[in-house]
């Protein structure tokens, strides 16, 4: 049952992450999915993989995505000002 719960949540959140349009919102859903994926790996008795997923997915990937989003937005603003 644990496997089913974790698997369903991961599948639902992965679908939701694809369905979002805004990259910042995608990053939010992605970070949720990363944590749930770590729980799924734990349930499947693969704590090493779960730990990797946790380390990368909870803080590092959101930081990289949000920094890119910020750069793109700032560039858009700067372009608008010069026009």
């Amino acid at each position: 049952m644990l496997i089913v719960v974790a698997l369903l949540l991961v599948a639902a959140s992965a679908t939701a992450a694809v369905a979002q349009r805004d990259p910042a919102r995608q990053a939010l859903v992605l970070s949720f999915m990363g944590v749930l994926l770590a729980a799924l790996f734990t349930v499947l008795q693969a704590p090493d993989v779960g730990l990797s997923q946790l380390a990368v997915g909870s803080a590092l990937t959101p930081l990289l995505i949000m920094l890119s989003v910020r750069k793109v937005r700032r560039r858009g603003r700067a372009k608008k000002e010069t026009e």
Binding site: L2, L28, L36, A38, A39, L54, S58, P62
Partner: protein, 150 residues
């Protein structure tokens, strides 16, 4: 399946579904709050799983999530601070409810583990989890209001 695993399944199912609903719908402020609540739902579940499977080493996962989950929320609070400023301030009722749930889980596990090194590790994890969640909620409620460019 023993009681610990059942509790973990319930916590993961209920908390995960609620957080997924919050994180995919509504204004950005609500989504970030739901992202913060993910940590406080999954971390106790991982602690319960470690007890349910009888593997003390799995506590490391919960410890790392308690450390890094609030850091992830701080990332969003900081880099989305422009989008969050018009939203409602952080959901304190939800935060304290989550803190209470975390306390209950950690206390139950402490009673089950008994005195020793593992108990102190559980307490450290619990303190990091609850402190991190409260601070992340504080950050969402305008903790980065003074941040402009940096």
């Amino acid at each position: 399946m023993n009681g610990w695993n059942l509790a973990a399944a319930v916590l993961l199912g209920a908390g995960g579904t609620a957080a997924l609903w919050g994180v995919t719908t509504g204004p950005p402020a609500r989504r970030v709050i739901a992202q913060n609540m993910t940590t406080s739902a999954v971390c106790p579940a991982l602690l319960l799983l470690s007890q349910g499977y009888g593997r003390p080493a799995y506590v490391d996962l919960a410890l790392l999530l308690a450390l890094l989950g609030p850091v992830g929320t701080l990332v969003f609070a900081r880099l989305l601070s422009g989008d969050l400023s018009d939203g409602r301030p952080g959901a304190w009722g939800l935060t304290w409810t989550a803190a209470g749930a975390g306390t209950v889980v950690v206390t139950a596990l402490c009673v089950a583990v008994g005195p020793g090194r593992a108990l102190v590790k559980l307490l450290v994890t619990g303190a990091l989890l609850i402190g991190g969640n409260v601070i992340a909620s504080r950050a969402l409620a305008g903790g980065f209001r003074g941040v402009r460019g940096g």
